[in-house]
């Protein structure tokens, strides 16, 4: 009975207190009046770590709290609610990001979007394309001229960090504002989660892009780009209520393809 409250769509409204929570709070507070107060100050992950969806009676009250436990922008415990995932959940989400057609990713992350994927997938991607890009460039030059020395270009790291972090942070933000302006409901955290996991396939394809055959590289990057782009646009469509906003989904597709082509041309030339 209590679990349905955690899956209310209003949970994405930061700082808002859904009206039904009051009822739930009263029920639990009658039994253990002090428990809620005790759970509040320490980390929410302690209560969230016991189970992410199905909770017992007393810890159910605590499950309501993390959604509204906003302590301010500079308090780290406000953000633990977005990292409330376990290893198996993250792996599940990673695998499902590889399927371009299914389009059900949004329903998976609806109850518990996480920013862990965004942060660490983009960081891994930055490192991977910077390092493998250097390797790939070296191999290409060596194929033409056998005596080129190995030269590690550190500027690849700067460019990779700037482009990947910029893309992963700004594009979902732009789409969030766009959809808010156009009237559809949107959730910034879920957008960030979606775009973050969509970058995972580029990590895998970067390992294949080291092969110094130009035709093969183009094929790989186009396939990976198409898969990632369709993943993003199909999942974005569930936020678009009316059909004449399909242009938004198409533009997301185009942007993701643009990113993949940029990665190929700058790092794996």
């Amino acid at each position: 009975m209590e679990e349905s409250f955690t899956t209310l769509p209003s949970s994405h409204l930061l700082g808002s207190v859904p009206a039904v929570v009051g009822e739930g709070k009263k029920v639990t507070s009658q039994e253990v009046p002090g428990a809620n107060l005790q759970i509040f100050p320490p980390n929410n992950g302690g209560s969230g770590g016991q189970g992410y969806q199905t909770l017992g009676a007393t810890s159910d009250g605590a499950a309501q709290e993390p959604n509204n436990n906003w302590k301010g922008f500079f308090n780290i415990y406000s953000y633990t609610q977005y990292f409330n995932v376990d290893t198996d959940i993250v792996l599940n989400r990673l695998i499902s990001s590889l399927y371009p057609i299914q389009g059900d990713f949004v329903s998976k992350i609806d109850a518990n979007p996480d920013l862990y994927g965004l942060v660490w997938i983009s960081t891994t991607l930055v490192f991977v394309i910077a390092s493998l890009g250097n390797c790939a460039t070296y191999l290409m030059h060596r194929r033409d001229d056998h005596s080129t020395p190995w030269n590690f270009d550190v500027s690849y790291l700067n460019m990779a960090a700037g482009s990947i972090y910029g893309y992963a942070l700004i594009v979902p933000l732009a789409y969030y504002f766009l959809l808010q302006y156009l009237g559809s409901s949107a959730s910034l955290v879920r957008f960030w989660c979606l775009w973050g996991y969509s970058l995972f396939i580029f990590i895998l394809s970067s390992f294949l892009l080291v092969i110094p055959v130009e035709f093969l590289r183009w094929t790989i990057i186009l396939i990976a780009g198409a898969a990632s782009a369709s993943f993003v646009s199909l999942n974005l469509r569930s936020y678009i209520q009316t059909t004449d906003l399909t242009i938004v989904a198409i533009s997301a597709f185009v942007l993701q393809m643009g990113l993949s082509i940029f990665i190929k041309m700058w790092f794996f030339a």
């Binding site: 633990t80 977005y82 862990y116 390092s131 700067n158």
Partner: protein, 282 residues
Amino acid sequence: MSHSDTIPLHPSSQSDIDEIENLILNSHHSSVLPARPPSPPRASIPVSSTPPNPNPTPTFIPSNLPPPSIPKSTPTASIPRAPVPPPPGSTSTGGIASSGFGPAPNTLTEPVWDTVKRDLSRIVSNLKLVVFPNPFREDPGKALRDWDLWGPFFFIVFLGLTLSWSASVKKSEVFAVAFALLAAGAVILTLNVLLLGGHIIFFQSLSLLGYCLFPLDIGALICMLKDNVIIKVVVVAVTLAWSSWAAYPFMSTAVNPRRKALALYPVLLMYVSVGFLIIAID
């Protein structure tokens, strides 16, 4: 306080402790009981009544200030109002009274060499605890109880310098990238554990991640001296495994066991990227 050579200031312009001391000294009934014994003369150079102590141990030498019940007599030592640190190398190390303030006032006036030696020995002991096998490794509370940030600082700067020396072009950019990567990486890794709901102390974790860089430092040094790619790969692989093994118990016990991999993966990522930098820079 010394009224013999200074004009007594208005009580309101004295510091709080001075005020309390004056109250104690001027009221012989000691109606104001200090919470701790009266403060010693702060950073005073004792007169020759006490011989210079060759062993600079923080021994308790009664202060020149008389206890509150005795009428105040003119103190024999001139007590400076502001703490004046004596020149380094002075022989006044043993003469500082320590009462109520703990060891902190002692270290202000000891020779610089003593301070450096103490910090170095702490770095070495922390290093032995973290990086080398010892029975305390599984207990994160005990492992780095006496953490400090000097060790990590030295190791990060040393790694940056080594990488910069090894690089043939863009030396300053290499140093900047290495330093930023390691420093920001340590902070972000700690934040990651905290966000996943783990229990660690921020600076203790920074300290530990810095100490775990020590094997990579050795690897970088060897790679700088030997230029063969195969040797570099082998050395970096070994030191990378060593660093990860050093950091593993601390990180894994800090979070919920179901999130262990989530906390450990970024550590591995950082060390692999540093290892790659070591191999790739030439």
